[in-house]
């Protein structure tokens, strides 16, 4: 895809921004800890088999299995992974289902095992459904890196978290507070009802909203648009009918936020109900410019794939084993440290609004 070159340029910019935005992202200690390329961990804590100086061999077969193919967001992630694999001189392959249902990835994992891939990078559609197959892969010496959406920690080696669950949940809560003008009803339009990410974020958002500074904001409902345009449209309509005094809709999914924005921009509710959440700049540009959406956030999806690619290669080479405190180099992103439960955190999300959206193209 020709946009990849542009993307990395953009990323350089967005990284700077990311740092600048840490404060308004409500950066927690945990977040800032994990995001800083931390000092090398004391070698004593590294697992016995990890050899930080191991070379990454050429020609590693690194496979990416996103939640769903042909989903623009997944594709950007995978493109980042491809970039990393190419930098490492490896062999990149991309497979995946056309729907994001719980069981759809299982057959692809089995195929990857049969193809004797060296590393599997997967964004799990369901934390448990993929577990048996992933463990089969690991039993055969194929390290498993989850990115974007985690599987059960028992069945993967490292999880590339786009941002901490806390960080995103807080960002969502702050968006709700700001766009409701400090008080009023807000609703969430999520993806599917069993989406791992969204549920975790919404959980944190709820905890945040329970705090005294959010006392004026009332979360009235979590609706599920199943990441389908039509369904998200209908759910948005229903929300607006159920709660005529709704102040804002927070949609932590790229399909949902675009559908909600499109619906509101073409309805009587335009200007009365704010839309925010997580979306890609290209998708949301129209609605930011027509005033339906004031701001929304997202991390760089390409960096997630990129980091996953490097983490996978480091695992295969034996540089890391997935134990807390191990560090590895991730190309242009610098050095990363593995946190508790094998988690590697990319960094806090970037906020987009009318003033900066034109600087991004993904």
């Amino acid at each position: 895809m020709s946009s990849r070159r542009g993307l990395s340029l953009v990323l350089a910019g967005s990284l700077g921004l990311t740092m600048a935005l840490t404060a308004c992202g409500g950066g927690t200690t945990r977040e800032s800890q994990a995001q800083q390329p931390a000092a090398p961990a004391p070698s004593s804590s590294a697992a016995a088999s990890a050899d930080p100086s191991a070379e990454i061999p050429e020609g590693l077969k690194i496979a990416f299995l996103p939640k769903q193919l042909n989903n623009p967001y997944s594709d950007i992630e995978a493109a980042g992974g491809k970039e990393a694999v190419e930098e490492l001189g490896g062999e990149y392959s991309l497979v995946g289902p056309n729907d994001a249902s719980a069981s759809s990835q299982v057959s692809y994992i089995n195929t990857l095992i049969q193809q004797q891939q060296d590393v599997i990078n997967i964004a799990a559609n369901d934390p448990n459904a993929v577990c048996p197959s992933l463990n089969q892969a690991r039993a055969k010496g194929i390290p498993v890196v989850t990115f974007d959406s985690d599987a059960n920690p028992d069945c993967r080696d490292v999880f590339i978290n786009q941002a901490t669950t806390e960080g995103i949940g807080k960002t969502l809560a702050e968006q709700a507070l700001e766009l409701s003008g400090g008080s009023g009803k807000v609703a969430v339009l999520s993806a599917t009802a069993n989406a791992t990410n969204q549920n975790a974020w919404i959980e944190v958002m709820k905890e945040e909203l329970a705090k005294p500074e959010y006392a004026g904001v009332e979360l009235v409902e979590v609706a599920y648009g199943d990441d389908d345009d039509q369904k998200s449209f209908q759910q948005t309509q229903a929300l607006l009918q159920k709660y005529p005094d709704l102040k804002a809709i927070v949609s932590p999914t790229t399909v949902g936020i675009a559908a909600a924005a499109r619906y509101i921009s073409s309805s009587d509710y335009k200007g009365k109900v704010a839309v925010t959440g997580l979306g890609t700049p290209n998708q949301m540009r129209e609605y930011v410019k027509d005033g339906t959406v004031k701001e929304f956030a997202l991390w760089s999806p390409a960096d997630i794939g990129y980091l996953a690619g490097y983490a996978g290669a480091a695992l295969k080479a034996g540089q890391i084993t997935g134990a807390e405190g191990e560090t590895f180099e991730a190309g242009r992103l610098g050095e990363y440290t593995i946190g508790a439960d094998g988690e590697v955190v990319l960094g806090p999300p970037t906020t987009f609004d009318a003033s900066n959206i034109d600087q991004f193209d993904f």
């Binding site: 193919l69 042909n70 039509q230 410019k289």
Partner: protein
């Protein structure tokens, strides 16, 4: 030819004396069941939330119905001939992407040209279906199940994961998706025109009546001198072209098109037709019924979230309501058929 008479001729060799008044009553009763269900549903929902019958809400329902109804009209035309077209969802996706790509590449393209292109793509897909069904000698169910995946595959391949976003589509096209004439959305007017034309052709014109004859008894249709091949071809091409039209409207309404647009729509469309009294074994049903079916399904889908029915139950409830609608319909039909039989025997 009504379902009652069609089925009766299959079940028992009663001479097909067509009592027109009874046929009318059957049709009336069928629509009556759906209309009744609609009224009850709207009344209950409106009682729970008066906003459900507000202007914005009605407009939304009409808009959602419009796309489904256009697909259901095409589907009805095919089902009447004892075939089925399962590829419509994929055709919608492919043609929506075609229209979107054209508009993205040449933002100055007139709306009519974009719609025309989408319909052409759809018609071509329909033609492939028809040729495979006719000359491959394979049942339409199998052929269109295959092309469902083929067309979707082509769309995926073409899109290569790219999405056409609202900011890449010309404003006048997006405006067309939400424009209204005297308060009625243009999309709804287009659907109404499609419905009326199809309804009149199927009901009054030879080309339409032939389709019923083919569906009721293909062998008899051949013997009667109906060019079955040509009519089937036409039916599939029309269904494809209407799916293409629906695709163009989809792009205008949602403003975001990727290769997955319309995934799974085929089942909604078949459900709309069947709920609307179109008999899957062919030879019976009207586009009016199918459009009502589409309206009912859309209202159900809009009403359940408003009624605060748990998300997890909504799909199951939609399924149950479809079964309920069909079984009610079945009961009405058999009762009327029995009545007809009684009357006929009295008459003899």
């Amino acid at each position: 030819m009504s379902a009652a008479t069609a089925q009766r001729t299959q079940e028992t060799p009663v001479p097909p004396a067509p009592p027109t008044s009874a046929v009318e009553r059957v049709l009336k009763a069928r629509s009556l069941g759906i209309v009744l269900a609609l009224v009850v549903l709207v009344a209950v929902t409106a009682a729970a939330n008066p906003l459900f019958v507000s202007g914005q809400s009605l407009r939304d329902i009409a808009l959602s119905t419009a796309i489904l109804a256009i697909l259901a009209v095409g589907q009805t035309i095919v089902i009447i001939t004892r075939s089925i077209d399962l590829s419509v969802g994929s055709v919608l996706g492919l043609s929506a992407y075609a229209a979107g790509s054209l508009l993205q590449a040449a933002p100055g393209t007139p709306i009519v040209v974009a719609i025309g292109l989408a319909m052409l793509v759809g018609a071509a897909c329909g033609l492939v279906n028809a040729v495979l069904v006719r000359f491959g000698g394979v049942p339409a169910l199998v052929v269109t199940l295959g092309t469902l995946y083929i067309y979707r595959g082509i769309a995926f391949f073409w899109a290569g994961g790219q999405q056409i976003n609202a900011d890449e589509m010309p404003g006048n096209y997006l405006g067309f998706g939400t424009a209204t004439v005297l308060g009625v959305p243009v999309l709804v007017l287009i659907a109404a025109v499609v419905l009326v034309v199809a309804g009149i052709v199927l009901g009054r014109y030879r080309a339409g009546r032939d389709l019923y004859a083919i569906g009721s008894n293909p062998d008899a249709a051949v013997l009667a001198g109906i060019s079955v091949g040509r009519r089937l071809l036409a039916a599939f091409v029309v269904s494809g072209a209407l799916a293409g039209l629906a695709g163009a409207l989809y792009a205008a309404r949602f403003g975001t098109v990727d290769a997955a647009a319309g995934t799974g729509y085929e089942l909604n469309v078949v459900a709309a037709a069947v709920v609307g009294g179109v008999v899957v074994t062919g030879g019976s049903g009207t586009v009016w019924g199918a459009a009502l079916g589409a309206l009912l399904l859309t209202v159900i889908n809009s009403a359940l979230p408003v009624l605060r029915i748990d998300q997890f139950w909504q799909q199951a409830i939609v399924g149950a309501l479809i079964l309920l609608a069909i079984s009610t319909d079945r009961v009405l039909t058999t009762r009327l058929a029995a009545q007809l039989r009684r009357r006929n025997s009295h008459g003899r």
